[in-house]
């Protein structure tokens, strides 16, 4: 277990492409930390620099308060599971799992114990004597994971380990990874582009885009208090709904008015103090689908009127997409909603859960300092 600190870390490819732009981050000892972002955002480059398989263009990386920039990967005492598995083709599964420990000269019976433990954990006991070429994709990925976690290390790094695993196996393995980490309490860094995975597994998450940190926080913070438009839009499925409009003042009370969609929403007190300075200026209002209630009849407190574009009954819940003046608004409901195509529908927003964003900077005014 180890504390990992990144200080002003840069990665530049070919003198031109800035993949990672001066990020500062502290990962606490024993944390399950997720790097989350779309492809090309710099999360994999960052992790590879921590592992030592990518050169650092500028800045420092500390593992347990020791600068490791010049240390080769083997000396940093970390283990890594690759997205592309990177198994050793001529070795059997058993030998693949045992390899990192054999290289470090661990005693034979301890290696055997660890290999069996990992094999049981990842359901590989039946294939221990096979070679990678005779394994399915999912099995290969489990061997890759197993090889990383078989030996004790300061930190485990996982590079999108579940991306090629079929969905049933993925659910199970996600749970196993989380439980493993909670039991061992080893520092883990997990790279993924799947926000569902990050929210499920991480103690804390770093959201990246274009080489820069967008937000760092617990899953709850990222979900309920997104710092900017990118984070708000990226996290959550169905995604945030956004409306363009202005802040209007009526004495003490502030409200948000959208010209296009033709509705107006009173803003609660805790929002008021943060956005009062924006009165009269254009802003974006954001609200999550789960905080909108639909109704097929007009109610006194409904805010928006639209028509049913599509309703999807997904089994455990339902998703209503309503058309409001040419824009689509997504609402989460129970699966028994009875609306049909083009039926009129009235939407009520839970005003306590709205967010107001500055359209130019993209920042969430509720949390800006």
């Amino acid at each position: 277990m180890a504390k990992i600190v990144l200080k002003d870390l840069w990665k530049v490819y070919g003198g031109e492409v800035e993949a990672v732009k001066g990020i500062n981050l502290t990962i606490e000892d024993g944390e399950f930390f997720c790097f989350l972002g779309p492809s090309g955002c710099g999360k994999t480059s960052t992790m590879r620099m921590i592992a030592g398989i990518e050169e650092i263009s500028a800045g420092q990386i500390y593992i347990d308060d020791v600068v490791v920039n010049k240390l080769p990967p083997a000396k940093r005492d970390i283990a890594m599971a690759f997205e592309t598995y990177a198994l050793y083709p001529p070795l059997t599964v058993w030998e693949n799992l045992a390899f990192p420990m054999q290289v470090r000269g661990m005693p034979r019976d301890q290696i055997e114990k660890e290999v069996q433990r990992v094999a049981r954990l990842l359901d590989l006991t039946d294939v221990l004597d096979r070679k990678p070429a005779h394994l399915s994709g999912g099995q290969q990925q489990r061997v890759s994971l197993g090889r990383a976690i078989a030996r004790p290390a300061k930190a485990y790094l996982f590079d999108e380990p579940l991306s090629h695993v079929d969905s049933k196996a993925r659910l199970r393995m996600r749970g196993e990874i989380k439980r493993l980490q909670e039991t061992l309490k080893t520092t883990c860094i997990y790279v993924t582009h799947d926000q569902l995975e990050a929210l499920a597994l991480g103690d804390r998450i770093m959201v990246m885009n274009f080489g820069e940190i967008q937000q760092v926080g617990t899953p709850e913070e990222i979900y309920n208090q997104p710092r900017n438009l990118f984070v708000a839009d990226f996290i959550g499925e169905p995604p945030f709904n956004f409306f363009d409009g202005v802040i209007l003042a009526d004495g003490e009370h502030l409200s948000f008015k959208s010209e296009e969609a033709g509705f107006s929403v009173p803003l609660p007190d805790h929002v008021r103090e943060k956005v009062a300075h924006k009165t009269g200026q254009p802003v974006k209002l954001g609200i999550r689908p789960m905080f909108i209630s639909p109704s097929l009849t007009e109610t006194p407190d409904s805010h928006i009127r639209g028509s049913v574009y599509v309703f999807e009954d997904l089994g455990e819940n339902g998703v209503l997409t309503a058309e409001v003046d040419g824009n689509l608004v997504r609402v989460m409901t129970d699966p028994y909603f009875a609306g049909k195509l083009d039926d009129p529908v009235w939407l009520t927003l839970n005003t306590d859960m709205v967010h107001i964003f500055d359209p130019e900077s993209g920042l969430n005014l509720l949390f800006a300092r």
Partner: protein, 367 residues
């Protein structure tokens, strides 16, 4: 117009039987989803309707006519391929116009232009019309494949896993758009997928297939609430259904399910009691969805299962608690912000009426 009927259809590739004795009716204007894991014979089924694969045995009717010996162009179907199957040497505009320029259609160029621009606008591709397929992203390619099917007015739309290679965010968006288009145009649609959410969302009827054999057919709600077999029950639902192997025991004048290790006892739902009482089977597999499992962190008066916390994963609108009870792992849906420790004791209660009963040997549901 546009009804598709399969009667005892078989498809063999050499010795491999990809489709076995498949029969179904896709009614006019309906969206029929064929759901199954990869390699289940779904793509073969679709290609047999389109006419690009031969039918080994059985009959296929399109629009009431026997289609077995019709060439693809005579069947008037439009297909969206999993690999998009775009024409790499043609621009997006020409890809969309291609079917309309074929000998079967032969539309004049101004009509072609009108249709292509309309469909491109509908799919948000107006600015991409003169690009080559190699310059497009996955999502854009998928829309071109879709557009190429929409410019025509076929009797049947055939979709072959069109969303499987697209990012999750775009996938949900496109699923919603496809549903809207299908409900507006109301052309008979046959949609093949391995993603059960697409089946739930898009299908008026769902057919579940495994290894070429029909498992269940019905409206999505019914397949979700009353799966006909263990295979169907496990395939549909996220988080997946919990399964326990149990013995039927009579105790205190009532029927109970007892797990094999004796650790838990669950009441038998009323609807099954008469049937189970009469039969002589004792061993069953029961299934119940995580959404029907309630959890308690301190011992309640009554509970069905006692265990310890194995792991908790939060999702945005809820969480999934995995509970270890003996050798079993049981999933329960919870609120998102549950705070628990590993190995902490926890008690579970089931909504008994939602328990489903299956015969462990045949895999079929007990009605």
């Amino acid at each position: 117009m546009g009804e598709v009927v399969f009667k005892n259809v078989w498809k063999r590739y050499g010795h491999v039987e990809a489709v076995k004795d498949l029969s179904f009716v896709a009614r006019e204007g309906e969206c029929l989803v064929i759901l199954g894991p990869s390699g289940a014979g779904k793509t073969s089924t679709l290609k047999m309707i389109a006419g690009v694969e031969d039918i080994t045995a059985g009959e296929v009717y399109i629009d009431g006519k026997l289609a077995n010996y019709l060439t693809p162009r005579e069947r008037n179907t439009a297909m969206v391929f999993e690999s998009y199957a775009l024409y790499p040497h043609l621009s997006v505009y020409d890809n969309l116009a291609f079917p309309l320029r074929s000998p079967t259609y032969r539309l004049p160029e101004d009509q072609i232009r009108e249709r292509v621009t309309r469909v491109a606008g509908m799919l948000g591709m107006g600015s991409l019309l003169d690009r080559a397929p190699a310059q497009l992203s996955q999502g854009q390619k998928q829309r071109v494949g879709l557009g190429r099917a929409l410019v025509r007015e076929p009797s049947v739309f055939l979709f072959d896993e069109p969303l499987s290679h697209v990012d999750a965010k775009i996938r949900h968006r496109m699923r919603m758009e496809i549903k809207h288009i299908q409900q507006t145009i109301r052309t008979t649609t046959i949609y093949v997928t391995h993603d059960y959410m697409e089946a739930m969302s898009l299908g008026d009827q769902v057919i579940v297939i495994n290894e070429g054999v029909l498992q269940q057919m019905g409206p999505p709600r019914e397949v979700f609430d009353h799966p006909a077999s263990l295979f169907v029950a496990d395939l549909i639902g996220d988080p997946p259904m919990n399964f326990l192997d149990v013995d039927l025991v009579a105790q205190n004048g009532d029927l109970w399910f007892r797990t094999l290790d004796g650790a838990c006892e669950l009441p038998v739902p009323a609807e099954f009691k008469p049937k189970l009482q009469q039969g002589d089977k004792k061993r069953f597999r029961i299934g119940f969805r995580p959404m029907f499992v309630s959890h308690y962190l301190s011992q309640p008066e009554q509970s069905h299962i006692q265990g310890t916390v194995y792991v908790f994963e939060r999702f945005e609108t809820g969480g999934v608690l995995t509970v270890a009870a003996g050798q079993n792992r049981i999933l329960a849906s919870t609120e998102p912000n549950l705070k628990v420790q590993i190995d902490q004791p926890v008690w579970l209660s089931l909504d008994v009426d939602r328990i489903r009963v299956f015969d462990p040997e045949s895999g079929l549901a007990v009605k």
